[in-house]
Amino acid sequence: SQKIEQNSEALNIQEGKTATLTCNYTNYSPAYLQWYRQDPGRGPVFLLLIRENEKEKRKERLKVTFDTTLKQSLFHITASQPADSATYLCALVRGYSTLTFGKGTMLLVSP
């Protein structure tokens, strides 16, 4: 069956360090992968989309990689700040245009 796996344990890092979150998937051949941020009590907010023919995508302090051979995406936040503390979700296309989400990884950035 199709699975999306994100580390269920919270990631604790110090301010200024680089946070790296992992998204692994099985039995998918996604054309693209998306990352979302979710704050407590709020809906997810879109951050980045990366296509299968793109190895890397950057947006300000965010960087996403997509390795279709390893079936893995890495999400990096450089120079992390306490305001980056949130849950980060990866999502893959299922069917024509519906997304399947991972359970998310909570990131905690301490001052």
Binding site: I4, S8, A31, Y32, Q34, Y36, G41, R42, G43, P44, V45, F46, L49, R51, L89, V93, R94, S97, T98, L99, T100, F101, G102, K103, G104
Partner: protein, 115 residues
């Protein structure tokens, strides 16, 4: 623009009661979705719609119904509420395009408890 608006924000239902969760978007998106999110679990797709008059089931449609009479509105109906439907419900919309650039815009959610 308000984006995606959901009402109510919170609701407590008794077992067997019915209710409708409202969702409206002002971005003229063709695609709309309903997800539920249980603690520690990922978002699960309940139903989606690719345009007015067209709806389809997602992963977990049992116990729910939807309709899409206009582009803007996509209500979710619970007919006979059960404790298993206690969850946070999110409505989302996206621009219908080709090529796969289907980023979703989410509402702020409805927290539903069935007791």
């Amino acid at each position: 623009n308000a984006g995606v608006t959901q009402t109510p924000k919170f609701r407590i239902l008794k077992i067997g009661q019915s209710m409708t969760l409202q969702c409206t978007q002002d971005m003229n998106h063709n695609y709309m979705y309903w997800y539920r999110q249980d603690p520690g679990m990922g978002l699960k797709l309940i139903y989606y719609s690719v345009g007015a008059g067209i709806t389809d089931k997602g992963e977990v449609p049992n116990g729910y119904n939807v309709s899409r009479s206009t582009t803007e509105d996509f209500p979710l109906r619970l007919e006979l509420a059960a404790p298993s439907q206690t969850s946070v419900y999110f409505c989302a919309s996206s621009y219908s395009g080709t090529g796969g650039d289907e980023k979703l815009f989410f509402g702020s959610g409805t927290q539903l408890s069935v007791l």
